[in-house]
Amino acid sequence: MKLNDALSGLLILIVGSVIAVHARTFPSMGQTVGPSLFPTIIGGGLMVCGAALAVSWLRRRGAPWVEVDDWVRRPRMVMNFALVFVDLVFYALAVGRLGFFITAVVFLSVLMIAFGVSRARVLPVAMAVTLVMHYAFYSLLRVPLPWGVLEAVAW
């Protein structure tokens, strides 16, 4: 998704002003330079940049307000986009309970299927990768990857 310069400039201007206004509420703490100075400068800088972008749009109008990428019109791509995030959230929520092995195999399989890897390959590849990752992180690097429901077979 591509916003035109007027819209993105406006957005940056708004973000900048919110930051600058919020930064003014920081206490001065009786110092030469208080905690509010830097965020205020950053907010102000963003406002100036936002305004400059919006002005540059005034000079050459004509670009559509929002250019939507082609993939947005293709349901499979939209699903892939969403799936990347759903899969990450799934990992975060499930890894403690199900353990690394099951979570990682599901995590990999779902994405590989979505990315069009042939079905027969998905499970063996997912399992092999999970084993290698587990060996590298758990055994070599000593990262405490959770075992979850497989606690009984932990090594």
Partner: protein
């Protein structure tokens, strides 16, 4: 000094370090040769691994992987006309045209030979310049450091290609991220919104992984994946004829190495910009500029040397001042702090053997590139055939394990996700990512040195120009701003006419 060097050799020639170097070499070659996976991404993905390694192997792993990745980027550039990393983009057109004329061996061999030579040249400059600069830097006060950081941030915005305003927005965003939390001179919690996790600020690792890796997987997920059209012919002896090339083009090779090292050392500009600038210089001074772009080896030699030289050059300001020379060293600096090897001139006095060990690893990595690079070229057909539908889920799993493993906090996964989405939309709207990372790494330092200087000066801004070196750096910074403004004005006038 001799005993420190001996100690350093002992540290490097240790089974763990050598094993890590070899493993990260393969990792770097692989990531670099897959189009869409960059050297910066390789570094970001390695951060969680380095987290669990002792300091020397941790640094060795990043040095080796990036050197290999920058070379490996040449391989798909020559075979598929798709640069493996942005640093190979400048001359990929020429390289591919040569492959089509049946000169794949020559151009791939040249890519390897001049990557090694450029890398070794950059390393020699790093080894000689860094201790000398560190000696001078010992006398630097907060005023000099403030201006150095300003100069770094300024060149990150104005040296990189693209619209400076967009670069500036990206930089501001990075500085803003750096203000989150209470780790500031006043220890006042800023932008924490009552969240305990945000009190200590946004962690570098999940942000990096999100911006450099998750965004890339997302981009792949929504792209129509077409299998790469890997050429079928076998690749023969790549070293044949390289001696003749070196005798024909000694100056471009040397000039590329020098320019690459200098641009790498310039804070904020890295291997990709070095390659573009070197390619342009090569064309400008060539006896046959008309051949550039049609499959001419000269530009490949010069900018192929430049991008690997830039890699080592970028470590000069990173080690001496803690100011990253490019986005790779921005990540490296984060790792150095995590490992207690805080960059700065003192590192050359306190732990010289650690620094010497880093230098030795640089030499080792560049020399190791000869056999491993040859192997990659031989196996390129098979490497490029690895389906990306399998690869991308694995990278995402690597990201999530990396972000999660360090603090075991779901919050970090959220941060990674949020910054992945942010980076995806930034790139879709032509906002560069590198200035954000630089701003994030340098924001705290900038504020710290500014506040210290202001307190020392009793609030008088003129004090920032009292010391000669500070004044020089300050004037240089201001000059870059003014020149860029003037150039922008002139361009605008030219457009409206």
């Amino acid at each position: 000094m001799v005993e420190h060097i001996a100690l350093a050799f002992g540290k490097v020639f240790d089974p763990l370090v050598l094993g890590v170097v070899l493993a990260s070499a393969f990792f770097g070659l692989f990531v670099g040769s897959i189009p869409g996976l960059s050297a910066t991404m390789a570094t970001a993905l390695l951060v969680p691994v380095t987290f669990f390694l002792p300091p020397i192997p941790a640094v060795a792993c990043m040095v080796t992987a990036t050197a290999m990745a920058i070379f490996a980027g040449d391989v798909p550039g020559a075979l598929l006309r798709m640069p493996g990393t942005p640093a190979s983009a400048a001359y990929c057109h020429d390289a591919y045209a040569m492959t089509q004329r049946g000169q794949a061996e020559t151009v791939l061999g040249a890519g390897l030979v001049y990557s090694v030579l450029g890398g070794l040249f950059g390393t020699i400059v790093l080894v000689t310049a860094a201790p000398w600069l560190a000696d001078a830097a010992l006398r630097f006060s907060s005023f000099e450091y403030f201006w150095l950081v300003m100069l770094g941030l300024t060149s990150a915005v104005f040296v990189s290609p693209g619209h400076p305003i967009r670069g500036l927005v990206s930089l501001m965003l990075g500085l803003l991220i750096a203000t989150v939390g209470f780790e500031n001179p006043s220890a006042y919690p800023r932008f924490t919104f009552g969240s305990v996790e945000l009190m200590s600020g946004l962690q570098l690792i999940p942000v990096m992984i999100g911006m450099f890796a998750v965004s890339e997987v997302t981009r792949y997920a929504v792209s129509a994946d077409t299998p790469l059209d890997v050429p079928k012919q076998d690749i023969g002896g790549i070293f044949k004829g390289q001696g003749r090339l070196l005798r024909t083009y000694p100056w471009p090779a040397l000039r590329g190495s020098v320019v690459g090292t200098l641009i790498g050392a310039l804070p904020g500009a890295g291997a990709d910009i070095a390659a573009w600038i070197s390619y342009a210089i090569s064309k400008r001074f060539s006896k046959t500029p008309e051949k550039f772009g049609t499959g001419h080896i000269e530009g490949v030699i010069e900018s192929g040397a430049a991008n690997n030289a830039a890699l080592a050059g970028a470590w000069i300001p990173a080690l001496v001042f803690g100011i990253p020379g490019d986005s790779i060293t921005a990540i490296v600096i984060g790792v150095l702090y995590l490992k207690g090897m805080n960059p700065g001139p003192a590192i050359f006095l306190e732990n010289p053997e650690n620094i010497y060990a880093v230098f030795i690893v640089f030499f080792l990595a560049n020399l190791l590139m000869v056999p491993l690079g040859w192997l990659l070229i031989k196996l390129a057909k098979n490497v490029l055939r690895v389906p990306r539908g399998v690869l991308m889920p694995i990278i995402l799993l690597f990201c999530v394990v990396g972000a999660f493993a360090i603090n075991n906090s779901v919050f970090d996964i959220g941060v990674m996700l949020a910054f992945g989405v942010l980076a995806y939309f930034m790139e879709a709207n032509d906002f560069p990512i590198a200035p954000t990372i630089l701003g994030m790494v340098l924001g705290g330092m900038l504020e710290q040195h500014f506040v210290t200087s202001m307190i020392k000066a009793g609030g008088h801004v003129t004090a920032f120009f009292d010391r000669p070196i500070a004044a020089g750096l300050g004037l240089a910074t201001i000059a870059i701003w003014l020149t860029s403004l003037a150039l922008a004005m002139r361009q605008r006038r030219a457009v409206s006419r």
